[in-house]
């Protein structure tokens, strides 16, 4: 099987997000199952400007053939004005205005789309829905097209050009059921073949050091929050919740933030921020945590919750984040909070009961093993793509 991915950025320099997920799938299809994979992408690394930084042309990255194209235009200057204008009533915006928004969002990639038409792949996977290359490419390819929406409940989803793009997809690959429900609530595409695949967890690595040794917290117990330390990711809220919790429940407990640091948190002797750590340290820190906390309300999947479960650590997640709540609910591996009160009581309950932590952690670990281990996940994806190709053949 030959698979083509279309994604606005690609490469090991691009961290996380939809593009990172596309790269994981592409590399596992090659390395684990021996399929041929090519990627159509831009020369950009920065998702705010889409400036061409990398060289155009073909290269091979971890066994995946990458075709890079310059963009005719990046993020337009008037984008934010246009974006502000569509926010109040996006579904009422005309097709023409919607297309202007898509172009202004960038990157505009006519050369990429021309080349994509000549692809000899059996199936083309677009990842994610938001960009020009998906909107204008999905109806142009002659092969079956799989759309990985990576959709959030955001104004763009309601714009008319996306209605046409989703309608042209032959199949959908979702991160979570919550994402599927969102898409089906907004767009009439429920009958289209789909799979809720999620993302695979990376192999755990360790140097055998204790988490407390890496954090420098002595023998103090700790809870951990892995990911970008950013206000929008809920880090400031969590820090304040934790300080209040410690004021009301004095103890040795520490909150460790593990990840790149981009927002200022309130100072506290009970909070440690590691900044970026390598994979070994990250896994060792997670392994010794009492609870893994995901405070973000806007996750499309949240691998870090799964990484906690891999180590048998229970999760405590933001109750307004559909995907993380869904995974906690399906696995039985975590609790969720929707106010300071429920945060305090949930954390209290988890800290007070090693048995509850063990039960939730094991349920989470079992869930990850059955659903998100790479060998399981990539086989599911392979079977799904084969079905999509077969269905395409029978319909043509």
């Amino acid at each position: 099987m030959k698979v083509a991915f279309v994604t606005p950025r690609y490469g090991p320099e691009v961290m996380g997000g939809a593009e990172g997920a596309a790269r994981s799938l592409a590399e596992h299809l090659v390395a684990d199952l021996g399929h041929e994979v090519e990627v159509f992408t831009t020369c950009a690394l920065d998702h705010l400007t889409w400036d061409d930084v990398l060289e155009p042309g073909d290269s091979v990255v971890n066994g995946v053939t990458v075709h890079r194209f310059r963009s005719a235009a990046g993020r337009a200057k008037e984008f934010f004005i246009l974006d502000g204008a569509i926010r109040s009533a996006p579904s009422a915006v005309s097709m023409e205005e919607g297309n202007r928004w898509v172009e202004a969002n960038g990157p505009v990639t006519p050369d990429l789309l021309d080349a994509l038409e000549g692809s000899t792949a059996d199936v083309v996977a677009f990842y994610p829905y938001l960009f020009y290359m998906t909107v204008h490419g999905i109806g142009r390819v002659r092969q079956p097209a799989v759309l990985h929406p990576a959709a959030h409940d955001e104004p763009a989803l309601y714009l008319k050009p996306y209605r046409a793009a989703f309608g042209a997809a032959d199949a959908f690959c979702y991160h979570t059921r919550a994402e599927r429900h969102l898409v089906e609530r907004v767009l009439p595409v429920a009958e289209t073949p789909q799979i809720v695949l999620g993302l695979g967890t990376n192999a755990e690595v360790s140097r055998g050091r204790s988490g407390a040794e890496i954090l420098g917290t002595g023998d103090r117990p700790y809870v951990v929050c892995v990911g970008r330390v950013d206000e929008q990711k809920g880090a400031v809220m969590l820090a304040n919740f934790f300080i209040e919790y410690k004021r009301r429940h004095p103890s040795d407990l520490v909150l460790a933030f593990v990840g790149p640091h981009s927002s200022t948190l309130p100072e506290s002797d009970d909070i440690v921020i590691t900044g970026i750590v390598d994979e070994e340290d990250k896994w060792d820190i997670i392994a010794d945590a009492l609870v893994s906390i995901s405070p973000s309300a806007m996750e499309s999947f949240s691998l870090v919750v799964l990484e906690g479960w891999v180590k048998g650590v229970p999760a405590l997640v933001n109750g307004t984040c559909g995907p993380t709540v869904e995974n906690c609910s399906l696995s039985g591996g975590g609790l969720w909070f929707d106010s300071y009160g429920s945060f305090e009581l949930s954390l209290d309950r988890l800290l007070a009961s090693p048995q509850l932590r063990r039960q939730l952690g094991e349920a989470g670990r079992d869930f990850v093993r059955r659903t998100f281990d790479w060998p399981v996940l990539i086989r599911r994806y392979e079977a799904f793509l084969e079905q999509v190709i077969e269905r395409g053949r029978s319909m043509s």
Binding site: R185, A190, E191, Q194, S329, D366
Partner: protein, 323 residues
């Protein structure tokens, strides 16, 4: 599933109850809790659906108050003192503006609460006519590949030339059969636990409600629909909605297969409690045949060996011609 799994819903219910108890007992500092709520809602998605209206209104309440006390923290030396001075000098002005904005937003919030109260009253009144999901009615031994009606259902659905939807698909046995014989089928079943294994194994199964799902299907996109155990507990308004949706999503050449509990069996002890609790009465097979005939279908009716259930098959367009 782990053998040491714990019922998350029970734990969460206990926590919610304890939060309510403590809040009522004044265990939380209301002002501090309000500040923390504000932080919580700053980046939370605002949802107006699925019972989240109360959550949204809570966010409106939290954000309605405009604080005239401008923050004075600064990373510059003496910055805090300068900011504090400016705040003191302009406080009369900021306070005047903030008070008016807060008053205005509070009025808006209050009106939204009044509308919510009205809606809640209406919802209570209409509770018996709810148009949301209805339970699956599964008779013991009447589902699965070895059930008396399975062979005929499989044969009829296989005549479809396009995509077939199987409702209350359980572990996906009929979907798997149809796909294995070269068909294009998918399934729905709100009983998540039943579908998960087959879903992970690669079948297109979803834990969705039938009526809500049909709302999200584009017109003329399905060539067949199998209604298994999903019509008995429908209230009249829901049944009308189902028929309208079926008419809209099915192509001209289409198949409908309907398996349901017979109304004569409703008084027996073998009928699932869900049917009693739903307060609905299943239709007779001839009534379904009449309803489907009105949509242009040619129908056949078969009663199960015990008389407890029946099968209606219906075809229209080119599929009406016997193969």
């Amino acid at each position: 599933m782990s053998d040491v799994s714990v019922d998350i819903e029970v734990v969460r219910a206990e926590i919610a109850e304890e939060v309510r108890r403590r809040r009522a007992g004044g265990a939380f500092d209301a002002l501090r809790e309000r500040e923390l709520e504000q932080l919580f809602h700053q980046y939370a998605p605002l949802q107006g659906r699925d019972g989240a209206l109360a959550e949204t209104l809570r966010a409106v309440d939290v954000t309605a108050y405009i604080d005239p006390h401008v923050p004075v923290a600064s990373s510059q030396p003496a910055g805090t003192a300068v900011k504090r001075g400016l705040r003191k000098a302009s406080f009369w002005y900021m306070n005047w503006i903030a008070a008016q904005v807060t008053r205005s937003l509070s009025t808006v919030a209050r009106s939204l609460h009044l509308i919510d109260d009205e809606l809640t009253d209406i919802r209570k009144t209409l509770d018996g006519l709810t148009l949301s999901g209805s339970p699956v009615i599964a008779l013991d031994g009447a589902d699965g590949a070895s059930a008396w009606w399975a062979k005929e259902a499989r044969a009829m659905a296989a005549r479809s030339t396009g995509r077939v939807l199987v409702s209350a698909c359980a572990d996906g046995w009929l979907v798997a059969d149809l796909v294995a014989s070269g068909g294009d089928a998918y399934g729905l079943d709100p009983r998540t636990g039943l579908i998960m294994e087959a879903e992970i194994a690669g079948l297109d199964l979803r834990d969705d409600d039938l009526l809500e799902h049909l709302d999200a299907v584009a017109d003329d996109r399905l060539s067949g629909i199998v209604l298994n155990g999903t019509t008995e507990a429908l209230l009249p308004a829901q049944r009308r909605r189902l028929l309208r949706r079926i008419e809209r999503v099915l192509t001209t050449d289409a198949v409908v297969v309907l398996h349901a509990v017979h109304p004569d069996a409703v008084d027996g002890d073998d009928v699932p409690a869900e049917l009693d609790l739903a307060g609905a009465r299943p239709l007779r097979p001839t009534t379904w045949a009449t309803l489907l005939a009105e949509m242009g279908f040619a129908t056949t009716v078969a009663i199960g060996p015990t008389g407890a259930d029946f099968l209606v098959t219906a075809t229209r367009g080119r599929l009406s011609v016997a193969p």
